[in-house]
C-alpha cells in the first residue's frame, strides 16, 4: 500500500502537475489576477487577459509576477481547497471500489479495466490514434461555462477556495487515472490517502509550473507532456498485469518470468508433523537436495521451495511463507498432494500490500497483521495441481505446486 501512495505522490509531483495546470491553471491564475487587481485598485486589463501565453494550441496563463505577495493567499486557498476536496473524493471512490470487491476475480476485472483506461489515456496523450480521445471524459459545456464565469468574478478569499473545490468537476487526464486507481483500492481510507498524496504532489508543481512554462516555453511542455504520457502508460501496464494475475490469466509477467526461469528448483523433503495450529516451524525437519543438507534448526523458512514427504494419514503438513515488503518467500512451494496443508503466513513489520494475501482459486482473502502469524487451511489437492497466490492487487505473486 505504501508503494502505491508513494507512486501517487511522485506521479502528482512529476506528471500530474503540468497536466492539472493545463486544465485547471486558468482558474487559478484568473482568480489571482482578479484578486490582485481588486486589491491594488488598478484599472485596465487583468493579468489573465494580458498575460496569456500561446503555445502549440495551449494557452497557459501565468500569474501576475509583479505582486507575489498578493498571490500567496489565493494560491494557498485554491490548493488547500483542492487538496481537501480530492481527499474526500478519494474516500468515496475507495468506498465505491469496496462495493465491488466481492471476489478477487472481480477485483482483477476492475483492475484490468482501470489498466486499459490508463493505457488508453497514455496513448491519447501520445496522439497515437484518434480513437484514444474517447478515453478522456469531457465535462458538460454548461458546467465549464459556470466555472469559467465564477473564476472571473473579483470577490473575496472565498472565490479561490470555491474554485479549488470546483476543480473536482474538471479533473485532468492524469487525475482521472489516479481516481481510477483509488476506485481499484477498494478501501475508502486508502482511496483518500492516494488522492491526498497525488494532489499534494501536484501542488508544488502546479504552483511552480507557471514560472517554468514561461521560462522554458514550448520545448519544456512538449517533453514534459510525453513524460506524463509514459508515466501513465507504465501505471496502466502495471494495473493490467495485476488484473491479469487476479483473474488467473495464463499470461502475466510473473508467469512468463517463471516459465523462463532456468534456476533448478530447490527440492526439500520433510518429515511429518503433528496437526497442531501452533506447531513451531522447527518441528519440520528439512533436507535440501541437491545441495548441502540442512537441518530444521538452520534452515531459514523463507528461502526454500518445500516438498513435504507424504506423512502418515493422521498428520497435517505445515508450510510456511514469510510475507515481506517486497513479496513472498518462498514464492514457489512444492507441496504434497492429497493431504491438507496448514499454511503459516509470517509477517514481521510488513507494511506493503503483500499483507493483503489472496488465493483466488480457494476464495481466500486475508489481511495479515503487520507483525504476527496467520494460519490458513488449504484442503488436499490432486497431484499436478498448481494454485497461485498473490497480494490483493496482483503485485506480488507465488505458486503452490502439488506433487
Amino acid at each position: 500500500m505504501d508503494n502505491i501512495i508513494l507512486v501517487a505522490f511522485i506521479t502528482g509531483l512529476t506528471a500530474g502537475g503540468l497536466s492539472c495546470f493545463a486544465v485547471q491553471g486558468g482558474l487559478l491564475t484568473g482568480s489571482i489576477a482578479q484578486q490582485v487587481e481588486s486589491t491594488s485598485q488598478s484599472s485596465g486589463k487583468t493579468a489573465s487577459s494580458s498575460k496569456k501565453k500561446k503555445n502549440n494550441g495551449r494557452r497557459i496563463q501565468p500569474a501576475n509576477p509583479k505582486r507575489p505577495a498578493g498571490m500567496i493567499q489565493p494560491i494557498l486557498l485554491f490548493t488547500t481547497a483542492k487538496l481537501v476536496a480530492y481527499t474526500i473524493l478519494g474516500f468515496f471512490l475507495g468506498l465505491l471500489g469496496s462495493l465491488f470487491s466481492f471476489s478477487s476475480s472481480l477485483k482483477g476485472a476492475i483492475q484490468l479495466a482501470i489498466g486499459i483506461f490508463l493505457v488508453g489515456n497514455a496513448l491519447r496523450m501520445l496522439n497515437v490514434h484518434p480513437i484514444f480521445r474517447y478515453f478522456s471524459f469531457e465535462p458538460p459545456s454548461q458546467l465549464t461555462r459556470y466555472i469559467r464565469r465564477v473564476s472571473k468574478r473579483a470577490e473575496s478569499w472565498a472565490t479561490p477556495l470555491f474554485l479549488g473545490a470546483l476543480t473536482l468537476l474538471i479533473p485532468c487526464g492524469v487525475t482521472q487515472s489516479m481516481m481510477a486507481v483509488a476506485v481499484g483500492t477498494g478501501n475508502p481510507l486508502t482511496g483518500a490517502v492516494i488522492m491526498f498524496a497525488f494532489i499534494l504532489g501536484t501542488s508544488p508543481t502546479f504552483i511552480g509550473v507557471s514560472w517554468l512554462v514561461t521560462s522554458l516555453g514550448g520545448m519544456f511542455q512538449k517533453y514534459f507532456y510525453r513524460f506524463v504520457a509514459l508515466t501513465v502508460l507504465v501505471l496502466g501496464l502495471y494495473a493490467i498485469n495485476g488484473g491479469l494475475v487476479l483473474v488467473d490469466s495464463p499470461v502475466s509477467s510473473a508467469k512468463i518470468l517463471r516459465a523462463f526461469n532456468s534456476d533448478p528448483p530447490v527440492s526439500v523433503t520433510a518429515t511429518t508433523v503433528a496437526p497442531s495450529p501452533a506447531a513451531p516451524a522447527s518441528s519440520v525437519s528439512a533436507e535440501l537436495a541437491p545441495g548441502s543438507p540442512l537441518t530444521a534448526s538452520d534452515t531459514p523458512p523463507s528461502d526454500v521451495n518445500r516438498v513435504v514427504a507424504p506423512p502418515p494419514p493422521t498428520a497435517a503438513v505445515i508450510a510456511q511463507i514469510n510475507v515481506e515488503n517486497s513479496g513472498y518467500l518462498p514464492d514457489n512451494l512444492a507441496l504434497p498432494a492429497n493431504l491438507p496443508i496448514e499454511l503459516h503466513l509470517i509477517t514481521n513489520h510488513t507494511r506493503s500490500c503483500s499483507r493483503a494475501f489472496v488465493i483466488p482459486e480457494l476464495g481466500v482473502q486475508e489481511l495479515l497483521p503487520a507483525t504476527g502469524e496467520k494460519v490458513i487451511q488449504i484442503p488436499a489437492q490432486k497431484a499436478g495441481k498448481t494454485i497461485d497466490f498473490m497480494c490483493s492487487m496482483g503485485m506480488y505473486t507465488g505458486v503452490f505446486q502439488f506433487k
Binding site: A22, G57, R59, R133, R145, R148
Partner: protein, 68 residues
Amino acid sequence: MARSTFNIPNMFCPACVMHLEGLEDELDGILSIKASYQKQRMDVEFDEKRISEQSIRAAVAGLGYQIS
C-alpha cells in the same frame, strides 16, 4: 443568428475545449460555443450582424489553434 462549424485539428486535450469555449465571454456577438476534443470540432452560434465568421477564425487562430 448564424451557425458555423469549424474543424480544429490540433486540439490536443480536453483543456482546449475550455479555452475555445472561453471565447464566448471574450467576443461580442457570440451566442454559444460547443467545442469537442473528441471530434476536434467547434460549433458556434453567433449574431452575424455583430461579428463575422472571419473574426471568429482570427480569434481561434489567435489562441494558437489551426482552423479549417
